[in-house]
Subunit: 296 residues, 4 copies
């Protein structure tokens, strides 16, 4: 599989989502036997972890409440005391469990598929490559339980998930990657999401570029992990920052899914399952908070 | 089917989502033959319609951009020019295609299932009945193409979708409602979403309480429509405001799904299909913008 | 008086505020005889006028309220029931009565005093020329009651306030501009602020570049008006947009003060008075909402 | 001086600002001899200290920038390349140097002057007692350099500024409080604003209720300090929280001014001076970020 930008045509905005074929989708749906749902997302709340300074805090407060909406409606002549509760949220889309849009990262001044950042990135979001282009993802998810394979409760910040780790985890899981799959990598680090946020974002175990390359060469649509950035942080080479984001998003058109909650599926030893992720179509956004599930 | 609050127990927070049985889910998945996906949501963007004053505008702007993140990372010693694009969003959850949480509406000082609004509604959201409690919805969706059945391109603001309208549309669609279904009502009004927002929110065709009651008595989990409020606006009885919201959410524990995009499925004469909606778990939120799909 | 950027040195960031000498300040203070204060600002509120799309709505809601803060403090052991009320605001600084920072406008890629916009304008505000550099302004304010001099209640949108208008108003007011003064121009248009916002922002009477030049050549520090943009909108030459902003801010380093409330001072026939404006030091901001006063 | 709510009438919304007489104002202005301005406010910026959870972070990013506004205007036919830079801010009003509105704190369900919190505090701010009611404050400021009088660089968190401290500082400063004055208390703690924010908000030296009472009995309009809360934190009596806020705002109608920058005036041994504070009229807000000055 080639990874040059031209493989899906110069107009392409969905990248590896081109591998989400109808056959793949039907096979994933037909693999569901029990109808069990595993929720692989965390709740989003004030205090959810974020990596400053680019990521920013999530804030929510009630904007209209039952008390005052009832009072306002009474003044307008209403007699049925319908009270509305409705909030105002301030957030980045990279909060909680979320998916990155292909336009989230650049390599210098270039985005995925030859798009110039100067043309695409406007004050008000992405004119191309925004998350609204990410199609519904219904395919096979494959869980690389790397932490489980190493026997540790979790890997360590700065510890790289290598190709070998992935190969061993696939073997332990009894699966081989196939085109159109979505890779879910369990480092065990997710246990600190919401329980020790300072620790969670200070660094993390994660993949390096060779591991991303190995996955992508096999036709992976998206790489998810139970950490904030999928990739190892800090990068062992301190003069390189966020290379997996660059490689996956900007070079290969492969999506990243972050802050997954993978403890339950790992505990049940589920290694392949129907994976569904439906990204809200926030036009021009660089990602979307999501609620992916796995089904068996 | 009884609709009193006690039917699913005094601790229940999910209401009619209790009807989403494993059998129902498996049947819906197994009904998918072609693997076709119909996207029944609109994009969310600055300028999306909202009903002031409770609903508020959606704002998005780039918070961190490739130019400045590259510059910052260079100063930190990075040589690979990874540029991040990342936005800040200010919004209500009731923007675009969205689902209402059960705690979104009160009847006086009472929320669904005997919850007192004074206890549940805090400054920072709902302590109970927030959208994080809404489970993944994978079930049969049934399309009541009311506009199609009437022969008009769309119904009129203030025009009520009655029980008779629904019955006729079901008959035309060749289906009967079954417990655990999700009802999707097409009034044709959705054509003004994003094309004439002022008109879209000034009023709308929609159901009345008897129509909601008829659906709910048959075991509907959620009622969706191609308008802002599901229900007819303004209410023909001007002294009653938002009675369907009160009835469905606060009395019956039945969800509402708003601003659906139903033109495509209607054009293809799809009346029953696998419906999937995965609400992002925004803790304590009164709703969530979503990307529901239908599959055949 | 020359207006080239070099007049106050290449490091200068305050522009015409250099004309705010100690002598000027003392004279203004000593001119106060009665101790009367005239409030020349409007209140800022949800619904305040704004010019889309660059200007954006002002939103405010209570974030923490007495009810819930008392409850939280009780849980922490407090017995004195101290309730806090505290809001969250989302806004642009160009809301209500406000002052523009010198970095608010560019002429192509250049800002005031030879600053390159590409260097100064970051994702998070202005690295130079932000409103925090605007010193306290305590000087003589001179009111050009142009509407009063014409005899009309207000001038019309698209109607230019010319040099002749200003000259006639100064004559009627019995004053001559002196270096270090702040000019306040009454078009009468302010009567629609908050009373007919749609009309208020659709267009406005205001000055043209020759009028700005005439004021600036006499040593004006800032030009304020009872409209949204100081300058005539739409510009009679439709291929030129916002030329007074460019000229005053980017070329001359002269501040603009917008949405002033000048009806009261005009009604009292006050033409010169001590003017005080203290811009909140929002670092890197392109302006600040303010509460200027005049004193006699 | 009595402190019961009735002293300025049952309709009063400005409290001790009633003491800001014309005579007081003229005397303050006439005290200015040199025309020197001392800026006693800090800059407001992302990262400014805040006391979670009620206080919330300040966020600012450019919403419209020169590059894209020029591009948009070119499309509309403009040839003069006017570029706008304009931000979006999310904030509480209690950021940086700010003044508290009288409605900021309650004593149980009561606000200042017999106002019931349930009536006054709405979803969208204060219907009464909001900061828009605070008149321009131009009066004598008196600096209690408590840290200077103790000889320490700064007092310690949890250390109370007592009546005796204030008396000694007034004596050292050579002044006696007079009705209509504004008290400025220097604890030295302000040195940590922006230099060690974690330390700055973890606790602070400040006044207790007897010290507030002593000041208020002498006719103080407002009490300011170089810390986040004016009052000592944590309160030595852990079962009492924020009693000075309750007493000053809710009981006495006396304003609080927080996060003042008092090092410069103290270094210059300025103990009495003309103090000017002009709170932006944010309707219904519980405070306002400000830029107070002192003049000699």
């Amino acid at each position: 599989m080639r990874h040059d930008h031209a493989q899906w045509g110069s107009a392409d905005q969905i990248g590896a989502a081109n591998l989400l074929t109808t056959e793949k989708r039907l096979a994933a749906l037909q693999s569901v036997r029990q109808g069990r749902i595993f929720d692989v997302s965390h709740e989003i709340y004030m205090g959810a972890p974020y990596m400053a300074p680019n990521q920013t805090p999530y804030l929510m407060s009630i904007f209209g409440s039952w008390r005052h909406t009832i009072a306002r409606r009474r003044k307008m002549g209403a007699t049925n005391d319908a009270g509305t509760n409705l909030e105002r949220i301030e957030m980045t889309t990279h909060v909680g469990t979320h998916i990155d849009a292909l336009g989230h990262f650049s390599k210098g001044d270039m985005l995925y598929n030859g798009n110039k950042a100067a043309d695409v990135v406007t004050d008000w979001g992405l004119d191309r490559l925004g998350i609204e282009h990410a199609p519904p993802m219904i395919t096979r998810g494959v869980l690389f339980d790397v932490a489980g394979a190493t026997g540790a409760a979790h890997m360590q910040p700065g510890q790289t998930v290598t190709v070998e780790h992935l190969q061993r985890a696939a073997e332990a899981g009894g699966f081989a990657v196939e085109p159109g799959d979505i890779a879910l990598i369990r480092t065990g680090w997710g246990r600190y999401f919401g329980t020790d946020n300072a620790r969670y974002v200070e660094g993390e175990p994660g993949i390096d570029v060779p591991a991303a390359k190995w996955l992508i060469e096999q036709g992976i649509v998206a790489i998810g992990a139970d950490n904030m950035a999928v990739e190892v942080l800090p990068n062992p080479n301190r003069s390189i920052m966020m290379p997996v984001h660059q490689f996956a998003l900007a070079e290969c058109g492969v999506y990243l899914i972050e802050n997954l909650a993978l403890e339950d599926v790992a505990a049940e030893r589920i290694h392949t399952a129907c994976f569904i992720l439906l990204a809200t179509k926030l036009r021009g956004a660089t990602g979307a908070p999501v609620r992916p599930i796995m089904m068996t």
